[in-house]
Amino acid sequence: MKKSVFLGALTVAGLAAGAAAAGTLDDVKARGTLNCGVTTGLVGFAAPDANGEWKGFDVSVCRAVAAAVLGDATAVEFVPTTGKTRFTALASGEIDMLARNTTWTFSRDVDLKFTFVGVNYYDGQGFMVPKALGVSSAKELDGATVCVQTGTTTELNLADFFRANNISYDPVPIETNAEGQQQYLAGACDTYTTDASGLAATRATFENPGEHALLPEIISKEPLGPLVRHGDDEWGDVVRWTLNALITAEELGVTSANVNEMASGSTNPEVKRLLGTEGTLGEMLGLDADWAMRAISSQGNYGEIFATTIGEETPIALSRGLNAQWTNGGLIYSPPFR
C-alpha cells in the first residue's frame, strides 16, 4: 500500500512536470528526434547489433513512429530501461513512449496513469520440458520440479494453474532468465516456465533445441504493447494509429516493397485513405498525408516486422499463433481507417 502511494505521488509529480510542457507531438517535432524507451536487451524484441544499431520487434514500433512523425526512421534516441526504471522514465518525461514488451494490466493503466495504445504481441506463460520426459501436456506435470523466477507474476500464475488443476509441484526459485536456463539444462528442474516468447528464445540458444518441447498450455494472458503518458491524447493517437497502420497494412496486403505502387495504383479506398492519396487522415493526426506510407516503407507491415525479427525464419522461430491477423484466426485486429 505504502509503495503504491509512493509510486502514485511520483507519477503525479511526473505528470505535473509533463503537463507544464507543450504537447509531446510538438516537442518531438521541435526536437527532431523521438525518445523511445526500450529494454536493455531482449532477444528478438530489442538489442543493438554488432554495429551498435538497435534492432528488434519493439524497436521497429519506435522507428515506425519516428518515420511517421519526423520522416526519418533513424531519428530515434533509444533510451534503454530496466524493469525498474521504465515507468519512472516515462512518467518523468525522459522518454516520449515506451515500447518495452510491457504487459497491459489494469493497475499500470489506471493506477500508474499510463495509456496503452494497443497490443503488438500477445504473449502468455508457457512450459518447456525435455522431450525425454515424455510429457505432452502441462496437466501431466503432477509432482514435477519447476524452475520459476521469484517475485514475478509468473510465480503467481504457476501456483494458480496447479491449484486449479489439483496437482502438486515443487518450485525451484531462480533469479534471472540466464540462471533458469542453466538450472534447466543442468537438470535441476523438470520444466522451466516463463513467457512463451522467452521460452522459444531460450530454447533457440540450446545446443540441441530439438530435444526440448514447449507444452501447448498457455496459462496466463500477457498482452504486450507500447504505452504513453496519460493526458496527452493527441500524442497517444499518433502512436496508436501508427501501430494500427502497420497492422492494417498487413491486412490489406500493403508491404514495404509494394507500398509505392499501392499508393498510386490501388483501387481499394481504405488503402488510399491509409496511404494518404485520398482523405485527410494524416492532417487529423497533426501529420502530413504520407505518414503511414513512410512508416510502412521503412519498417514493413506488421507481418514483415514479425517475420524478420522473431518469426519462423529467425533463430527464435515464433509462430504467429495468437498474433496472426484476425482474418487468419488470430487476435491482431485494427479498427478501420476511415
Binding site: L10, A17, A21, V43, T82, T85, A178, E207, T314
Partner: protein, 432 residues
C-alpha cells in the same frame, strides 16, 4: 707454521678434499619438496589432494580454452566448428571487442580518442604514484583531466580550456591569500574559479561545438570497460580530498561543521550504493524539467563520489585517531595554526597509516562501478547482460564473456593492490 703442523700432526691432510655434492635428499628440489610439500604424512596427503584438485580444474579448463573458436559469426556457428568437442566460443570476444571496451554507441572513428586518453593517464598518474620521478611532471597531471575530458567527450576546446583557466585562477588566488590565512585562500580560490567560469560561460558561443576539431560525443554514448575506468578513476580521485575534508570536519571543534560531517557520513554509510544510484538515475529526473536535466554520467559520478568519500573519511579518521596526542600538542607548541599543523604534521602521518584502507576502498569502488548496469548504463557488465546476451547470435554465451570481464577487473585490481604494497614498503609505515 705450516711446516710444524705437517711434521707434528702427521694425520692432517695436506690437500683439501674435493668438494662433494650434498646428500641427494638434502639439497635441490628434493629438499625443497621434503620441507615444503611432504614434511609430515598429513602434509603430504594434503599436497596430493591439492595437486589432484589443480589437475582436475586445469584438465577441464585448459582444453576448453585452447580448443576455443576465435572466428565465427554466432554461437550456432561456433558449435558447428567445434562439432561436438568441448571448447570455448571466444568468437564473441573478437566480434564484440570494441563494444565491450567502448560501449555500443561510441562512434568507431573516434575510438582512438579514449585510447589516447587512457595511455596519457599513465603519464599523468606516474608522478603522483612514484614520487622519485621529477616533480615537473606534475604540471602534466594538473592539465590531464581537461585533456582527457576533451578527448573523450569532444566538442569545443573552449570549455575544457575555460575550466582549466578557472582552476588555475583559483589556485593563484589561493597562493596569494594562503599566507594570510588558509580559510581566506581556500574560499577566495573557490570564488575566483567560480567568477571566471561564469564570465567565460557568457563568452563561449552556443554553437561552438558544431564545428569543433573533435566531434562531440554525448555522455549516454559512453560505455563498456571505458565507462568503468572513467567512473573508477574520477570517483577515486575526487573522493580522496573530499574524504580528507570530511574526516577533518568530523574531528572539528566547531559543532555546526562537525554535525554536518557526522550526519553526511552516517547517512551515506547507512544507505546501499545501489539506492543512491537509483536516486541519481530516477529520482533526480523528477526535480529537473525534462530539458535541463543534469548529465546522467555526472549524476552517477556525484553519487559514487559521495559514497566512497564517506568511507574514505572513516578510514582517514582511523588514521587520525592512531596518531599519538603528542603530535597534536607538538604542533601546537611550535606555534603552528590549525591549517599549518594539519597540513605539515598531522595529515602526512595519518594518510600514511591510512594507505591500506584507502586502497581497499579504491579497489572495492572500482568493482562497484559495475552496479551502474542496473540503472541502464552500459558498462562492461551492462553490455554483456544487455545487448550482447540479448542478440540472437550470442544468446547463451556466459562463461567466455563474464570470464573476460573478470580478467579485466582482476588485472586492474591486482595492479592497484601491488602498488599499495610497494608503497607501504617504501614508506615503511610501521617504523621498523
Amino acid at each position: 707454521m705450516s711446516d710444524t703442523h705437517a711434521h707434528t700432526v702427521s694425520f692432517v691432510r695436506t690437500e683439501t678434499l674435493p668438494e662433494r655434492e650434498p646428500p641427494y635428499a638434502a639439497s635441490g628440489p628434493v629438499k625443497w619438496m621434503r620441507e615444503n610439500l611432504f614434511a609430515t604424512p598429513a602434509n603430504g596427503l594434503l599436497t596430493l589432494v591439492a595437486l589432484y584438485v589443480i589437475y582436475v580444474a586445469l584438465s577441464g579448463v585448459l582444453p576448453w580454452i585452447f580448443n576455443g573458436v576465435w572466428n565465427a559469426g554466432s554461437l550456432t556457428e561456433c558449435r558447428e566448428i567445434l562439432d561436438g568437442t568441448r571448447g570455448a566460443c571466444f568468437a564473441v570476444l573478437s566480434e564484440r571487442w570494441p563494444q565491450l571496451i567502448f560501449g555500443f554507441k561510441y562512434p568507431p572513428e573516434y575510438y582512438w580518442r579514449p585510447t589516447v586518453a587512457f595511455l596519457l593517464l599513465f603519464v599523468a598518474v606516474a608522478p603522483v604514484l612514484f614520487f622519485d620521478l621529477p616533480r615537473k611532471l606534475l604540471a602534466f597531471t594538473a592539465v590531464y583531466p581537461f585533456i582527457a575530458f576533451w578527448l573523450i567527450w569532444g566538442g569545443t576546446v573552449l570549455s575544457p580550456v575555460l575550466a582549466f583557466v578557472g582552476v588555475a585562477g583559483g589556485a593563484m588566488v589561493y597562493q596569494k591569500l594562503v599566507n594570510r590565512s588558509f580559510a581566506a585562500g581556500f574560499f577566495g580560490g573557490i570564488v575566483a574559479a567560480y567568477v571566471i567560469w561564469k564570465i567565460g560561460g557568457f563568452l563561449i558561443p552556443e554553437t561552438a561545438s558544431d564545428n569543433a576539431m573533435l566531434g562531440a560525443v554525448p555522455s549516454r554514448d559512453l560505455g563498456g570497460f571505458m565507462l568503468n575506468m572513467m567512473l573508477g578513476v574520477t570517483c577515486v580521485t575526487l573522493s580522496v580530498p573530499i574524504g580528507i575534508a570530511l574526516a577533518l570536519g568530523r574531528q572539528s571543534s566547531m559543532p555546526l561543521i562537525k554535525w554536518i560531517c557526522v550526519v553526511f557520513i552516517e547517512f551515506i554509510r547507512g544507505v546501499p550504493l545501489i539506492t543512491l544510484l537509483f536516486v541519481a538515475s530516477v529520482m533526480l529526473a523528477y526535480f529537473f524539467p525534462p530539458e535541463s536535466s543534469v548529465d546522467l554520467f555526472l549524476r552517477v559520478v556525484i553519487m559514487i563520489t559521495m559514497f566512497s568519500a564517506a568511507y574514505i573519511a572513516e578510514v582517514i579518521r582511523g588514521g587520525l585517531a592512531a596518531l599519538p596526542k603528542g603530535q597534536y600538542e607538538g604542533a601546537d607548541s611550535l606555534g603552528l595554526d590549525y591549517a599549518q599543523a594539519t597540513r605539515l604534521i598531522i595529515l602526512p602521518q595519518a594518510l600514511k597509516i591510512s594507505i591500506p584502507g584507502i586502497v581497499n576502498i579504491a579497489v572495492g569502488l572500482f568493482k562497484d562501478t559495475t552496479l551502474v548496469s542496473v540503472i541502464s548504463m552500459f558498462d562492461i557488465l551492462g553490455m554483456i547482460r544487455g545487448p550482447i546476451l540479448a542478440s540472437t547470435e550470442w544468446n547463451g554465451v556466459y562463461w567466455e564473456l563474464l570470464g573476460f570481464a573478470a580478467l579485466l577487473f582482476f588485472v586492474v585490481c591486482y595492479g592497484i593492490s601491488q602498488y599499495s604494497q610497494w608503497l607501504e614498503r617504501r614508506l615503511a609505515t610501521d617504523h621498523r
